[in-house]
Symmetry: C2
Subunit: 168 residues, 2 copies
């Protein structure tokens, strides 16, 4: 099995056939879906922070105590990245993959070592693009929540989604 | 030297003394600053994608060819994380660190292997918080650009910034 095959199999996981992947026409406003879970531990928090966000409150318990966070917390961008992973593994298998154009976000609650995260999503808007008849723009609102149901990352993102063609 | 000392030294790099770190009162609307650069290579793109965004266009040249990206591209969240790293290392050394509350973003151009990224930032708004006299909210607009000056990640983020107290 080649690497390429591995990737393709990962990509269509949860779908019986590549032809089952979802196009713009298969989606509807109000569609909801929930991801699996990810338990975040201290090692992962520190490893991400060392590489991408090396600030005391993401690196070390003692250094974090006297900061705004009052203790070790994951980088917000780490929580965003985990959210992406959970979305890629979720049941919404888009034909062209999950391709974001932009959006809005908030981190209402810090993410702590031992937290168990999941993502709850809902399609807010679906718009065909006049300029590009082969695709449309879909706005998805997602809430990444911890085991206490607190929202740690709220995201409203615009995705580029393929329309169905004669070949699909 | 303990780990904690290491972290503190990283944190105040570019500042002569911890007392030189910036508080809300030290900032002004229109203040601009530019980060250093980060050259992104294929290995880094694939490593991030395997962990956080395992989709064909972020993992493999061949698989990426027939996608919307037309070739290997970095995960947008990877570009966001690199942007954070460049901001932490930049000259804007905030007293409480860089603590984001939320914001808006866009990925106008894909990031490719070999791209050299830098971040250009400007303070857009400074607001003391009535509810919390010890801090304020600062909105910073940043543009992460590649070596062709194309914007690969535009971010407008609200940061929580400490006000100066009698102890500072």
């Amino acid at each position: 099995m080649t690497l390429l095959q591995d990737i393709k199999e990962t990509f269509v996981a949860g779908s019986d056939e590549p032809g089952d992947r979802l196009h713009l026409e298969d989606l509807h406003v109000g569609l909801r879906y929930t991801s699996g879970t990810h338990a975040i531990d201290e090692g992962e928090i520190v490893a991400f922070a060392r590489q991408y966000d090396p600030q005391p409150f993401h690196l070390d318990h003692n250094a974090a105590r006297d900061t705004l966070f009052g203790g070790l917390a994951a980088s917000g961008w780490h929580v965003a990245a985990i959210t992406m992973r959970l979305q890629v593994e979720s049941s919404l298998k888009l034909a062209g993959g999950i391709v974001g154009a932009g959006g809005e976000f908030a981190w209402p609650t810090p993410t702590r070592p031992g937290d168990i995260l999941r993502v709850e999503s809902e399609i807010l808007e679906i718009k065909p693009l006049r300029s590009r008849p082969d695709r449309g723009m879909v706005t998805i609102r997602s809430e990444t929540r911890n085991q206490r149901d607190e929202i740690v990352f709220a995201l409203s993102v615009r995705l580029v989604v393929q329309r169905r063609t004669d070949n699909d």
